[in-house]
């Protein structure tokens, strides 16, 4: 029996050794938010636009832009369009990612490696996308390829705003954040968009001089069902253009203030 005890003891101590844990607690990754080191030549958005010489063009140079996200899709008003700007202009990137605000929130710096991407005319405006589809239209950058082109940088940067009048809307300001003082919605009995049928709507905005500009709102926006404000106030929005018409786009409703 004594011998047995020895064996038991030996086996039990063996067991104690082997029961040490396999998978340890998983630690958390460190906080990110630093700018990446990007190879290639940095260019401005203005020089990016010059790649387009009248026809759709794939960029073959090893160039990149450094820009700040000025609007994201948190509210649902913007769909698969990452809008960024630098000091020289704004640009919309067509990306196949919904809820991209989780990766590219407003105020985040992005570094877009342009080699391989296409710059094309998208309803009268220059956009960047991943490819030209079978119908000849600009295709969105595929979800899995986004990290190959759009590198994430530091965040919480303030987005510079151009303060302008309605009459001052020009092509150079397209896809930049603009600020209007003392404007009002013309048809204030309406809602921002048709939330029930999830249809987009255009709403007119005018200044005290009667100059009018469109605001385009998505039926999927979380503010689509809200009533338009009655009083005049100030608004910050992204200036866009659809064919010949300039239009404004909110990222979130808070961009309207009294």
């Amino acid at each position: 029996m004594k011998k047995h005890f020895k064996i038991y003891f030996l086996m039990l101590s063996l067991l104690a050794v082997i029961t040490s844990c396999v998978k340890n607690e998983i630690d958390e990754p460190p906080t990110g938010g630093s700018d990446p080191i990007v190879s290639g030549t940095k260019i401005t958005i203005d020089s990016l636009k010059k790649y387009f010489t009248g026809s759709n063009k794939q960029i073959n140079d090893d160039v990149y832009i450094e820009a700040i996200v000025n609007a994201d899709d948190r509210s649902g008003n913007i769909y698969k369009e990452l809008i960024v700007q630098d000091a020289t202009g704004g640009m919309a990137f067509q990306i196949d990612e919904s809820n991209f605000y989780t990766d590219f929130p407003v105020g985040r710096k992005v570094f877009v490696k342009l080699k391989g991407l296409w710059i094309a005319d998208n309803s009268g405006v220059l956009n960047v996308g991943g490819y030209i589809d079978l119908s000849g239209a600009l295709g969105r950058i595929p979800l899995a390829l986004i990290p190959n082109f759009i590198l994430k940088g530091s965040y919480y940067h303030p987005v510079p705003v151009d303060t302008i009048d309605i009459t001052m809307a020009t092509d150079a300001l397209i896809n930049k954040l603009v600020y209007f003082k003392k404007v009002e919605f013309v048809d204030y009995n309406n809602t921002y968009a048709d939330a029930v049928n999830q249809q987009d709507e255009n709403r007119d905005i005018q200044d005290c001089n009667g100059n009018v500009i469109l605001m385009r709102n998505s039926g999927y926006a979380n503010f689509a069902g809200e009533k338009l404000p009655r009083l005049n106030g100030n608004l910050t929005a992204v200036l866009q253009k659809y064919n010949a018409d300039f239009q404004l786009k909110f990222a979130i409703l808070k961009m309207w203030h009294l």
Partner: protein, 924 residues
């Protein structure tokens, strides 16, 4: 019913007219110690009757017509000795047979039983025969449980609900789905060796059984070998290391026997990248023999384990990853591999058994068992964020219609394999960046909080089971030739289904709202977006329940009886079972979309069912037998299939009714001393089966429940097995299971909108007549050769061939609605309709063992002490194309460019070359 009873009565009357028969009794003892040897197999060669020696080494065979018989005594497959006994009176004493205990036994016992891991079992409704039941002496059972299990072969293609397993007299079935949770005793191989398998319709003494068969595991303390054994295994399968320590006391003073076992097995990384396992097991059993008539046994065990699992992949993913074992379930977090799909089980089971030998001819066994525990599996949940799973179809080239971009994406993924894994660090960053104000916490206006609202979390989907079983059965011998068995079973189960927040991934909180409902809601403050209206806008931290929370209450009462009557030339049996079962759902949350149909008790669903079977065996002579058996049954729907969407509401599936099964089997058996053969044909027809699937439909652009009703299936096939002992220790064997399992009608399909319960399509015909059923390889064969040396070592080699593996069908694809715009007989038409199948595959397995008696060298050892080494290599040729099954993705859109790739099935794979080395030290 009346006819069956009448039939049975008439059989009993006939039995009175009988030839003279006698009983053989005998004892097997250890030559060295004189003590009785328990657990040895004793066989009457002439009629194949088999028994196991009792604790005192005793055995007996009754009902033997006067003749001379060969009795073979063997230990776990090792032929020990034979003796010739002449039966010429009522009781013949074969006397005492002494054996030199060379104890090679251990080697064969340690046949690797890890090819099917715990993780695989639940997901795929498992192999019908658990590999945990290991190899049997029957060459056919051994082949299907060992050689075929690597490819998830299922006996006759039957689903799990067609089998029943009892342990120490208590049923081990999960009433909510009819399955047996073999993983609750995984790692306890040493103490689960005493078992009985009854394949097919044969009458068992402990249960009515089921069409696939029944198993009885006897893990009571007095059934365990008297020993201390420690073993270590090294492997590269689901685990890398395994330690096991087992003790059995045998009968001690005062009529006590105790036994215990503990084991531990783990792998930091299993055979497949990103998988791991971490399991413990314990077992404790006590027997008390009160007197010669009564014995009480208490057994308690559990196998807490944790496994990181793999995900099935499409051929496109495999090609991109350049790895047939590509696993999308893991990714790097801070440089370390982390798996999203982690399964945990801990279900302690306790069984109390009372065995009452009322007389020499009658025994009554009563068992009460209890299981309480939880199984769980982790997965992602996310809120207003992109799908974080690498297998998300938009991450793959086949989603894109433009070839240029598909090629670019494909080149990128090939160059960056990590892009095809989970990006944990990105998920953390997204959560940390999402610093927001959340309003109206708990539904209280103005109660706002600000913090990092997690966009992505890891959720733990849990099932907490409380199972109680009471089972009693009686076996009695009437006259010389009639065995009567009967039993009563009462089962009660409560299963609580819910999910918990397991990890906020760097965020501060999560909110209990329904993102699918929110997407559709006009007003984001509508109650419809709440997962639980009773507790709106609830802030969730780690460990909080959310999403869904409901109970299943199931009860079942069963009464059964069977009888085996032996005549001189024929044996007949008949059996019948009646049962009543009922279940209901009890919602613990008031789901926003279905406030009136989700909270509280649902209507009780009750079903009365019967089973009946009978069979005849014609004994051509003592070695050749012909038999035919038939059975029919009705089966109540299981709780897990009965509700359209049990997570959200009480609505039951359309046409909730009993399934009907008819089965026949028949064949020829040969049991000669050197040659054993089996040729069996079977056919089983299933009717009224229902299948429910919930998924996000691109066609309907919303979450839907898809119910296929009135499914009819036929499983038919041949089972051939032959084993020949060439002498000189060489045995050759060949086994083939050739099946054809197909759908035999056109069932009906109903699509229901999950958010509103509104039907989107009703009773659409599904054109799947003669399509194959996904049930592992429908045909499997093996040829083997074994050599057993007199010097206590053996080797076996098997060549296996598997064929006819098919994927599970996505029935919607075979409806008019899905195909009416496709040109018939076009390439697309064929791609959409054809059922993917896979080419036949060959594997080669080796297994060997050696045992050494340490006392020969170390004379001071008082107890017989053995060292046993066994080595197994599976799939020696490293065939990596072993597809074991798969399913078509619930995705359908013919407009997408490369439909053939887009619609590829997800497949499961068998491992490549694997090994297992086991070293055991045993002291008897």
């Amino acid at each position: 019913m009346k006819k069956i009873l009448l039939f049975m009565c008439s059989l009993m009357c006939c039995a009175m007219l009988q030839a003279q028969t006698g009983t053989i009794t005998g004892v097997v003892a250890n030559e060295a110690t004189g003590a009785g040897l328990s657990g040895l197999n004793v066989t009457v060669i002439e009629n194949g009757a088999t028994t196991v020696t009792n604790v005192d080494g005793g055995y007996s065979f009754s009902n033997l017509p006067y003749n001379t018989y060969t009795i073979q005594i063997s230990a776990d497959g090792f032929e020990a000795t034979t003796l010739s006994v002449k039966v010429d009176k009522a009781t013949v004493d074969a006397g005492r047979t002494t054996l030199h205990v060379d104890d090679n036994k251990g080697a064969i016992d340690n046949i690797p039983t890890v090819t099917i891991s715990e993780s695989d079992l639940k997901e795929t409704s498992s192999a019908a025969i658990s590999s945990a039941l290991s190899a049997s002496r029957d060459v056919f059972i051994a082949a299907i449980s060992f050689n075929f299990s690597a490819l998830r072969f299922r006996f006759r293609g039957y689903d799990d609900e067609n089998f029943i397993t009892l342990m120490n007299g208590a049923p081990m079935t999960d009433l909510t789905n009819g399955r047996t949770a073999y993983f609750t005793w995984s790692g306890l191989n040493d103490v689960m060796r005493s078992r009985e398998a009854n394949l097919g319709l044969n009458a068992a003494s402990y249960t009515y059984g089921n069409i696939g068969g029944s198993y009885f595991i006897d893990s009571r303390a007095s059934k365990q070998r008297k020993q201390i054994q420690a073993s270590y295994s090294l492997s590269n399968r689901s685990y890398d290391n395994r330690f096991m320590l087992t003790y059995g006391s045998g009968w001690m003073k005062g009529g006590w026997a105790v036994s215990g076992s503990v084991s531990r097995r783990w792998a930091n990384e299993g055979f497949i990248r990103g998988t791991f396992s971490d399991g413990y097991s314990y077992f404790l059993a006590v027997d008390k023999k009160i007197n010669n008539k009564h014995m009480l046994s208490l057994t308690t065990f559990a196998a807490p384990n944790k496994t990181g699992r793999s995900a099935p992949a499409t051929q496109e993913q495999i090609d991109l990853a350049g790895d047939v074992f590509y696993n999308s379930a893991w990714g790097y977090q801070n440089g370390k591999v982390r798996n999203i799909n982690v399964a945990k089980n801990f279900e302690p089971t306790t069984i109390l058994t009372h065995e009452w030998k009322i007389s020499d001819r009658t025994q009554l066994v009563t068992a009460a068992s209890m299981l309480m525990g939880t199984t769980s599996r982790t997965a992602f949940d996310w809120y207003n964020a992109p799908d974080p799973r690498p297998e998300y179809y938009k991450n793959l080239p086949s989603y894109y219609e433009t070839p240029a971009i598909a090629q670019e994406l494909s080149a990128y993924l090939k160059a960056n394999p990590d892009a095809m894994q989970i990006q944990w660090d990105e998920l953390y960053e997204a959560n940390r960046l999402n610093n927001v104000e959340f309003k109206n916490v708990d539904g209280i206006a103005g109660n706002n909080i600000t913090g990092k609202r997690s966009l992505y979390i890891v959720e733990d989907r849990k099932v907490r089971n409380s199972v109680f079983n009471l089972n009693t059965y009686i076996n009695t011998l009437v006259g010389q030739n009639i065995t009567l068995n009967a039993g009563l079973t009462f089962q009660k189960q409560k299963s609580n289904y819910y999910k918990e927040v397991a990890d906020l991934l760097g965020g501060d909180f999560y909110v209990d709202v329904n993102r699918f409902a929110e997407f559709d809601a006009v007003d984001v403050n509508a109650p419809s977006i709440q997962n639980d209206i009773n507790r709106p806008n609830r802030i969730l931290k780690v460990g909080d329940r959310f999403g869904y929370d409901y109970d299943a209450f199931v009860t079942k009462g069963t009464a059964w009886a069977n009888s085996v009557i032996k005549f001189k030339k024929i044996d007949v049996f008949g059996g019948i079972e009646l049962s009543n079962s009922s279940f209901y759902r009890n919602g613990k949350t008031r789901f926003g979309l279905f406030p009136d149909d989700s909270y509280g008790k649902a209507a009780k669903q009750s079903f009365t069912n019967y089973q009946a079977k009978a069979g005849v065996t014609y004994k051509i002579n003592g070695r050749n037998y012909l038999f035919i058996n038939g059975g029919l049954l009705t089966r109540a729907p299981f709780f897990e299939n009965a509700y359209l969407s049990p997570r959200s509401r009480n609505q039951v599936a359309p046409s909730l009714q009993n399934e009907k099964v008819t089965t026949v089997e028949g064949g020829y058996l040969l049991r000669a001393p050197r040659l054993k053969a089996r040729a069996v044909a079977y056919m089983t027809m299933f009717k009224n089966q229902v299948n429910t699937l919930s998924y996000f439909s691109e066609d309907f652009n919303q979450f839907v429940n898809l119910t296929t009703t009135g499914i009819e299936k036929t499983h038919k096939g041949l089972e051939l097995a032959v084993e020949y002992n060439l002498g000189l220790g060489i045995t050759v064997s060949a086994v083939s299971a050739l099946g054809q399992y197909i759908y035999t009608n056109r069932p009906l399909l109903t699509v229901t909108q999950d958010n509103t319960a509104a039907p989107l399509a009703e009773n659409q015909t599904v054109y799947i007549n003669n399509f194959h059923i996904a049930a592992g390889p429908q045909s499997a064969s093996t040829v083997g050769i074994a050599y057993r040396s007199k010097n206590f070592w053996f080797v076996t080699m098997n060549v296996n061939y598997f064929d006819e593996v098919y994927t599970d069908l996505f029935t919607y694809r075979r409806t008019v609605a899905a195909t009416d715009l496709i040109v018939p007989e076009s390439e697309l038409w064929n791609t959409v309709l054809k059922q993917p199948g896979f080419e036949g595959q060959m594997t080669v397995d080796f297994f060997g063992g050696w045992s050494w008696r340490a006392n020969n060298k170390f004379k001071s050892l008082k107890h017989p002490t053995f060292i046993v080494l066994s080595v197994g290599v599976s799939n020696i040729l490293n065939n990596e194309d072993l597809i074991t099954g798969g399913f078509e993705q619930a995705r359908y859109r013919t407009t997408v460019g490369d439909f053939a790739t887009f619609s590829q099935p997800r497949t499961f794979r068998g491992f490549g070359r694997t090994f297992l080395i086991n070293l055991a030290l045993r002291m008897n």
